[in-house]
């Protein structure tokens, strides 16, 4: 389910079936010209990714809006903030939490975060409309859904 009015209507009636939270972690940084293009592209890919996963597992997984943070921000502080998000989310019957990100620096903080970090090796650049990129994403989505399912 997605963070939309329509899905939330369904969620309220079926929340006991939805026990998994998917949180995309998206870095953001305007200041540096050299990385703008790459960052934006990765953000696009991540968006595609999570929507594909959501489509596969719509009935049990809730995709919430991306958690945005400044790329070079102190991760300790971000972990604390995410914790606050989760504490609130856990007022609902949530059992599994997955973070999905291209940012490898989260791996170091995996243990401090409640839930599982799915770090995906990113696609550096390319054309989202090209067949190769699409099939690559398709394969990875397949594997990630499999992985999430293994926790159920």
């Amino acid at each position: 389910m997605k963070w939309t009015k329509m899905d939330m209507e369904k969620y309220i009636d079926a929340k006991e079936f939805v026990d998994t939270l998917l949180i995309p972690l998206s870095p953001f940084k305007m200041g540096d010209d050299t990385s703008l293009e790459k960052d934006a592209f990765q953000q696009e890919v991540l968006h595609l990714f999570v929507h594909e996963i959501e489509q596969q597992l719509a009935g049990r997984l809730l995709l919430i809006p991306s958690y945005m943070y400044l790329k070079d921000a102190d991760k300790e502080a971000e972990v604390k903030r995410i914790q606050l998000f989760l504490e609130d989310a856990q007022k609902q019957p949530i059992e599994h939490v997955f973070y999905i990100t291209f940012d490898a620096s989260w791996r170091k903080h995996e243990n401090e975060l409640q839930g599982n970090v799915l770090w995906v090796p990113s696609i550096q650049t390319g054309d989202l409309k090209s067949k190769e990129v699409q099939s690559l994403i398709g394969d990875q989505v397949e594997q990630l859904s499999e992985y999430i399912r293994s926790y159920w």
Binding site: M1, K10, F17, Q56, L57, A58, G59, R60, L61, W152
Partner: protein, 170 residues
């Protein structure tokens, strides 16, 4: 000369002008009303279109296989390309059946023989929903309705699929 000038009298001129302007105004009001009355006729059918799924009828077996195809979907403000998928097979009578993979419980994607425990059934990984091969939901599992079926046609030996339609309660 003076007779010719009198051919259109002031009264007539005003009459013509008023009728003309009045006519325009009436038309301006009536045309949208008429359009509204026949609106369903004017609407282009976007969903009714059947699209080729690039699958030859000869390649369809008794075993459901997953086919994917792309449609242009106009969704409010966005026009986007959306990938659709279906499980396609021939039933015992040789008729082609195309099931929607969307679980009728909460909308996950079901897989044919998705669980080793339940051969010959569709399986939904989210809440263990199951469907028989004909799409009927297995009683006692979460789904309460059979899988949707796609509108379909065969042209030049190729399969075309349209919109998924709910089936009557079995």
């Amino acid at each position: 000369m003076s007779e010719k000038k009198q051919q259109v009298s002031r009264r007539q001129f005003l009459n013509y002008t008023l009728t003309g302007v009045g006519g325009f105004m009436a038309a301006g009001m009536l045309v949208p009303m008429l359009r509204m009355a026949v609106d369903p006729v004017l609407q282009t059918s976007e969903e009714g279109d059947l699209k080729s799924v690039d699958l030859s009828v000869d390649d369809i077996t008794n075993e459901p296989q997953l086919v994917e195809w792309k449609i242009d979907q106009v969704d409010g403000w966005y026009e986007s390309e959306v990938t659709k998928s279906a499980w396609v097979f021939k039933d015992d009578n040789g008729d082609i059946i195309a099931h929607s993979p969307v679980c009728k419980h909460l909308g996950c994607n079901v897989t044919w023989e998705g669980s080793e425990k339940y051969p010959n059934e569709y399986f939904c990984p989210c809440h263990d929903g199951r469907y028989y091969k004909d799409g009927t939901n297995v009683p006692g599992t979460p789904p309460l309705a059979p899988l949707d079926e796609f509108d379909q046609k065969v042209e030049n030996g190729m399969l075309y699929l349209g919109k998924a339609k709910p089936r009557e309660e079995a």
